[in-house]
Symmetry: C2
Subunit: 348 residues, 2 copies
């Protein structure tokens, strides 16, 4: 039997990490690096651990440099799009003709994409629009979500993902074909719910980080406040999922509450929040993270999500007290702990 | 205006802590210590911090020793029952006549109580049965839940609780009368949902601790597994809430997911799980915790919860893979990490 072939677009942390379960599951894996990934591919070619995950690339992976996109996609049964969200449009444009020939595109990139008129779209819609401009109709886009740290996926530590397709049977089939002892995906039919939970959990992780950071001021932890913030974040994730036509079960499952749990305990968005909670201004903390080349995805996501609410359901603002608090904190509110407390403690 | 009077039964961590918000909210507070609390009251009388919270008792609190139960309850408008769950029956029996005269009893103790025939009851039902044996009808019992660490409540760090009464208007009124800037409660009508989430979150926190403990073996964290375990625990909390006639919203709110967040990151049940994850046998870890006089409430709760499922809904077992895994681990399963992985990763 010929091995099935998958092409991963994007050789950063998540793209390179997924080569591990795919190779373990019996796929022939092509890994294509964007014009920003040359140094990552070079390190892999030298046999070094991938610079972003610290884990060696799965041995059987075939590497392709950015000019060789067509070759990378030739003969692929499936594609995985795993570039930074800012690169999704450009890579989709360049890869559109090759992507048209695969059975499905799994999308791990997450974010919100404004169209030319400033209307906020979810990434699968933005990808379809971009491909249409090239005269191409994309195959089904499968939203990949859930608590998946790239270094853990690469190192075969147990990971539960979600794969969401409009056609749930397709998600089921692909989840089966991806399954390894360490990496398994729950099939869902809620593409939009998964797509909105992923960037929003980054936004809410900033607030969870703020709660952790408050301990640096008084020396005592604020566990109760962090837990109340977590519960408020789950409540608001449900509202965001419903806003885009998704479901509560997605928001309280792996893609929502599960991913929020890990994102609020580790990662850049949380670290950014810790700095703010500990006393840095939001602007200074952001500049410091930028200087360290540490992207804080929750910050741009918060701005775009605010537009999404404005455009689609402005009446929802009154039910999003924690999101409003985060917006105020990012805008420089001078007492982030008090602002979150006011937002998340029950009103009586 | 005469200050309203509240009597707190139980001078341990939570009982003594609640004196702070109650005094701040304008209540005259009586704090009664059980026959096990003499040394705690003695420390408070000497002006020392409460031994269990490390925080001084609210200054205006009036202390009562165990023989003075009737005096402590005389004239009270409200009572709070805050003894260890093993003491609920005996204290209810002794206090029944005094409790009959208050407007409502707030219950912070949490657990499952078998009746004489071994049928598992929730604590409010057990209290009513005990009082009935004394010929007494209790006033409404209000279930207090949510992420409330006693030392944080005592120290006025922000805390969001839930108060659940069958009559939600009563819960609302009492939540209003308890509210301070730092302590606020969400009124609910789901007594059973709150009562079942509290002990079950202790059970699930053991599994979250196991995930943290695994890092001690290989040196690398298992964040993805912990997050998947968290999502599985939330899913099963929903099923437990529904099993006792409660609701999903309770299980995904402060009393469920919120309390699970803090319990899975700190506290004795989590620490017990960490020891198991790091390689100790469940029995040895339990003995060590007992030797340090550190109660692991999730262990007896797991046994009683299993009886609850057997008695009320044995068909539910197939939907509780994580709970089954925890039962196996407590019974000595030799690979707790693999057992949890098998339970929480999606099945395909």
């Amino acid at each position: 039997m010929t091995a099935r072939a998958v092409t991963i677009l994007g050789a950063g942390a998540m793209g390179s990490a997924l080569a591990t379960p795919l190779a373990d599951a019996g796929w022939a894996v092509n890994l294509w690096g964007t014009w920003l990934d040359d140094h990552l591919l070079a390190a892999c070619r030298r046999g070094e651990p991938h610079p972003r995950t610290g884990v060696p690339l799965a041995g059987s992976t075939t590497l392709f440099d950015s000019p060789d996109l067509d070759d990378a996609l030739a003969g692929a049964d499936l594609a995985v799009l795993a570039v930074a969200s800012a690169g999704v449009a450009e890579v989709t444009r360049r890869a559109a003709r090759g992507l048209a020939k695969v059975r499905a595109v799994l999308l791990t990139s997450k974010g919100f994409a404004p169209d030319a008129d400033g209307r906020i779209r979810l990434l699968p819609d933005a990808m379809r629009d971009t491909a249409a401009e090239q005269g191409v109709t994309l195959p089904p886009v499968i939203a990949v979500g859930g608590p998946c740290k790239a270094n853990e996926v690469a190192a075969r530590r147990p990971t539960g993902a979600v794969f969401a397709a409009r056609d749930k049977a397709l998600a089921e089939e692909i989840a089966k074909n991806f399954a390894t002892p360490a990496y398994r995906a729950e099939p869902l039919d809620d593409v939009s719910g998964v797509e909105v939970c992923a960037p929003m959990k980054n936004v809410y992780a900033i607030a969870l980080g703020v709660c952790d950071g408050l301990a640096a001021r008084g020396g005592e932890p604020f566990h109760d406040l962090k837990a109340a913030t977590f519960a408020a974040a789950v409540r608001e994730l449900v509202l965001f999922a419903e806003l885009v036509g998704g479901g509560l079960r997605t928001a309280i499952g792996l893609a929502g509450a599960g991913d929020l749990e890990v994102t609020g305990n580790s990662g850049r968005n949380k670290i950014y929040g810790v700095r703010i909670g500990a006393g840095e201004s939001a602007a200074a903390a952001y500049a410091a993270m930028q200087a360290e080349e540490r992207t804080v995805e929750g910050v741009p996501a918060a701005g775009l999500a605010a537009k999404l609410v404005d455009q689609r359901a402005p009446q929802l603002w009154s039910e999003l007290p924690l999101f409003r608090a985060i917006r105020d904190i990012l805008a420089g509110h001078d007492d982030p702990g008090a602002r979150i407390t006011d937002a998340v403690l029950p009103r009586v």
